[in-house]
Symmetry: C2
């Protein structure tokens, strides 16, 4: 085996550098192609919050955004809620003091100022709010909610407004309670790794704060530059570090939240163990702000790793992918930090759009990207080598490359992270974010492709609406992104996709929303992933905390009989 030195490999491709030296088997010496800037790093546009995209299509460049109330005519404003008056606005101005804490469209025209709070970054949802309030403390949030409760004013909590399912913008004239002024880091204990922050802290700022203290936030995602910790917790965000560090249900130690009636729920424990009754805070993790507004979070943060490696493989079948995953879990074990899946068609489409040189010379039906991170670069490299010898020696993997510096790490990641952007090249994309038991993870892609092929919808020319059906995602989390790239949105395609995809998921007890939440976009389909009993139990919880559904009643509509067709009306 030949030997080479790998220098200047960054341990975290975004933050910290550390040089490593190690020997590599010769078959790994071929460098991967010239560096490519990661697809989203250069843009100054609002970044797509998650590289896996939303429900349909990516960010639009159009100026006009259709009102959600027009797109979803089935949702009616409940007139039990009051209309905003100048007296209401005066109350909020007096309460919050600072000029910038209230954006008032009631006593004056403030349409432009309200626009960023009324619509989402994808420009898919737009509300009619006339009032944005920005409380600066938990006490102010409490007073705002109490006043709204007493005056039957509907509200919608808003964090970084980077969601993908329309959950953080109003539909009608709900008051937007924007949390951006609650942005203090309350404390950090370096021994235990316990961090306490205001809900409005931006993820990236918190992660930088932790980096200076040799720790990381146990969550990372594309929208880190704008999303709030409170929003992350409220939506139980998944992201890139879940495989290694687990979900927020395990990492969040405490939550401070304000209930719809203004009650402050102070459950901001900093303790790793606390078995004194029901763990109520868990309802707020993934509760999407529908039973209260999170104002503070305490969370366990791991030590930051000193080393990172990225490898990219070609494989002949999904069985081989599963074998590789099993081997990675076994041999990379405690240092495995990502195992991403990309199918051949997804890489073909990326190649067709970018014309970049492929990482591997041959073409394969499946590709994987594996990342390791650990505390000792030499050990990690040695583990990775052994793993590579095994998977290549046993012909589990057909070919592979290993990034030898940060540029190559970024280049390899671009073949995974660039997929969503490239898929939109031809027109619209039908996107599904799904959890499926691992053995059947890829079968949905095959079944969908076969279904669309059998009726002649897929082809290389303009006559065929569908360019391709691709699958990729977080293999390590059993999280598949099924994407159907099209030249145009087409009702024939839609009819073949839905409810087919949802029924397919339901049969396998999968999830129709693995990591993005329900919001407005998916609430109508929750019945495909949750039984009537579970939906009834959820409804009970909503009724318990918010009996008048004053906080935007997203989950209140769980039982509403939206049709798939309505969901897919162009919006």
């Amino acid at each position: 085996m030949a030997t080479t030195c790998l220098k200047n490999v960054l341990f975290n491709r975004r933050l910290t550098a550390s040089s490593i030296k190690s020997s590599r088997p010769s078959y790994l010496l071929r460098p991967c192609p010239a560096a490519q800037t990661r697809w989203s790093s250069a843009t100054t546009e609002p970044r797509q919050p998650d590289a896996d995209g939303g429900t349909k299509g990516g960010p639009s460049t159009q100026r006009y955004i259709k009102y959600t109330s027009e797109s979803y005519p089935g949702i009616k404003r409940d007139n039990k809620f009051g209309k905003l008056s100048k007296a209401h606005v005066k109350f909020f101005k007096d309460l919050l003091g600072a000029q910038s804490a209230v954006i008032d469209g009631v006593s004056q025209d403030a349409t432009d100022d309200l626009e960023p709070f009324n619509s989402d970054w994808m420009r898919k949802y737009k509300g009619h709010t006339k009032l944005v309030v920005k409380p600066g403390s938990t006490d102010e949030v409490s007073k705002v909610l109490k006043y709204c409760n007493n005056n039957m004013l509907a509200v919608v909590p808003q964090g970084g407004n980077s969601g993908l399912v329309g959950g953080s913008v109003p539909v009608y004239d709900e008051i937007v309670i924007n949390m951006s002024r609650m942005n203090s880091i309350r404390g950090f204990d370096e021994v235990s790794g316990t961090l306490v922050v205001d809900a409005g802290c931006i993820l990236e700022i918190v992660d930088h704060f932790l980096a200076e203290r040799n720790h990381i936030f146990p969550l990372d995602l594309g929208a880190k530059g704008s999303c709030h910790i409170g929003g992350n917790v409220a939506t139980n965000a998944g992201g890139l570090r879940l495989l290694r560090y687990g979900s927020l249900h395990g990492n969040v130690l405490g939550i401070e939240a304000v209930l719809p009636d203004g009650t402050v729920m102070d459950d901001l424990s900093k303790l790793r163990k606390n078995n004194t009754g029901y763990d109520i805070k868990q309802l707020f993790i993934g509760g999407e702000g529908t039973i209260g507004i999170i104002t503070g979070v305490s969370i366990l943060c791991p030590q930051r790793s000193k080393a990172a490696n990225v490898a990219f493989f070609g494989l002949e079948s999904f069985d081989k992918v599963q074998e590789a995953f099993r081997a990675a879990k076994s041999q990379l074990s405690e240092i495995l930090s990502a195992f991403e899946l990309m199918d051949g068609q997804s890489q073909d489409l990326v190649h067709a759009v970018t014309a970049k040189k492929r990482p591997l010379e041959g073409q394969y039906p499946f590709y994987c990207l594996i990342e390791t991170s650990g505390s000792n670069p030499d050990h990690d490299s040695e583990k990775l080598e052994k793993f590579l010898e095994h998977v290549m020696g046993e012909e589990i993997v057909s070919d592979g490359v290993l990034a030898q510096d940060e540029t190559q790490i970024q280049s390899l990641w671009s073949w995974r992270e660039g997929i969503p952007e490239c898929l939109g090249h031809w027109g619209g994309v039908y996107k599904y974010d799904l959890s499926i038991p691992l053995p059947e993870l890829y079968k949905l892609v095959e079944d969908t492709r076969e279904r669309l092929t059998s009726v002649g919808l897929i082809g290389d020319d303009e006559k065929h609406p569908v360019v391709g059906v691709v699958g990729y995602g977080h293999m390590g989390d059993s999280n598949l992104h099924l994407n159907v790239a099209t030249r145009r949105f087409d009702t024939e395609v839609e009819k073949k996709l839905e409810p087919f995809v949802y029924e397919w998921i339901a049969k396998r007890n999968g999830s129709i929303s693995a990591e993005h939440g329900l919001g407005l976009a998916k609430k109508a389909f929750v019945g495909y992933s949750r039984s009537e009993t579970m939906i009834r139990l959820m409804k009970q919880i909503k009724d318990l905390y918010d009996p008048v559904s004053r906080i935007t009643p997203l989950l209140d509509c769980l039982m509403t009989n939206y049709t798939a067709e309505r969901y897919h009306e162009p919006i």
Copy 2:
């Protein structure tokens, strides 16, 4: 540096062997003292479920067990619940079929047969049940609960009955629903590590099943030979693997439970990600069976590690202990699997009782036990060496030894795990299982010791009731076990301890029950760890799921004004 070979080090000290070789700095070469059988491994008596013990004292050898109804006269049977009749018994016999599925003390005398189900292993709690039913399926649990609901019969769910807080035995004539017949492993996916089991599966059996498949259950505790997975989840058990693998709130993927009215809540997801509404199942994790009976659990199981190392240190101060912990987290990072704290007095008492040769020659105010487990023995050894060089070179640690084989690993662990048994040598022990923010973790021991010393209660002779005040526990989880070893239970001592300890905990937002739950023993004190608001929210949840409190209403008494004195009446 001298070099030695370490052979026959078991990667898991209970299950599997693997030889490793490594070099050691010379100061580590001194072997630790001759092997000692671990304190609990030879007994055939019911094992103490947790080496950290319960509330007061250890297992008693007396035959007579006082009825809980006599020990806690403040708890009254609610006469809205029906009395068992022969007709009821006939229903259950007809329903469950098997002769062994019903133990009937209604139509016949079955006192001896009922005894193991009426009382706990500590012989501290005893109920008056006349009926034990053992459903064999979720459907049977549902039918049992539905029948009880319709006939207003109170019930208490029972798993392995290994709890420490009296939560799994009846107080009056509640029907015991024992889950031991639901003991099938429903499935295991080796690729994802997802295991699905009946609630009545015994932890050790499941862990053996997983060991054969190169995985481990993400929880381990002393009672593994008898405790049920369902009980583990219902009590959110902590145990030995929490530092490494996190809590059940993060690892449990799905729960199947039967609600008090017989409704089957099928939330037995096998998905790692599922953001489709409130995560209701979390309420059942740590809910102690008070809102429903868990019948099935799906859980994520990690790969089993190939290597384990154990080191034992002496340190000069708690500040040094914190420094060592910080260094261990940083340098051992992904392989650190235990960081246990023992103070000097705890080790003095173990030494006084066992007369074993101490692991270290000198005596120190603090000791730590560190365990690593990872996938590569050589890498782990090298990391551990570097760490040892650092903490000894920097004089963070004053002296230390490293176990060189499985016998030595067990011997070192015995100095930690043997503490509870040794403390009981002189008579009674006042035991507190507490979570405290790490920086102040040990201050409670100092404050308590000072408090008892200042009033002359501690001394070496019979005139003084208190032998010593010691602290030990799971440093890595901020979980302190404060133990006061006494020659006799003494009201003067009790008055000095309570409510002092609970108030001390309350001031620091600690937890009065880190890992054992509330049960009957601690429910009266929950107000020291939870605010009135949180208790009210818990009460709401209980009312929501069990409005008639038919399932033994442990949490129903949250607001009851039990006094500390009553709690400490001898029982």
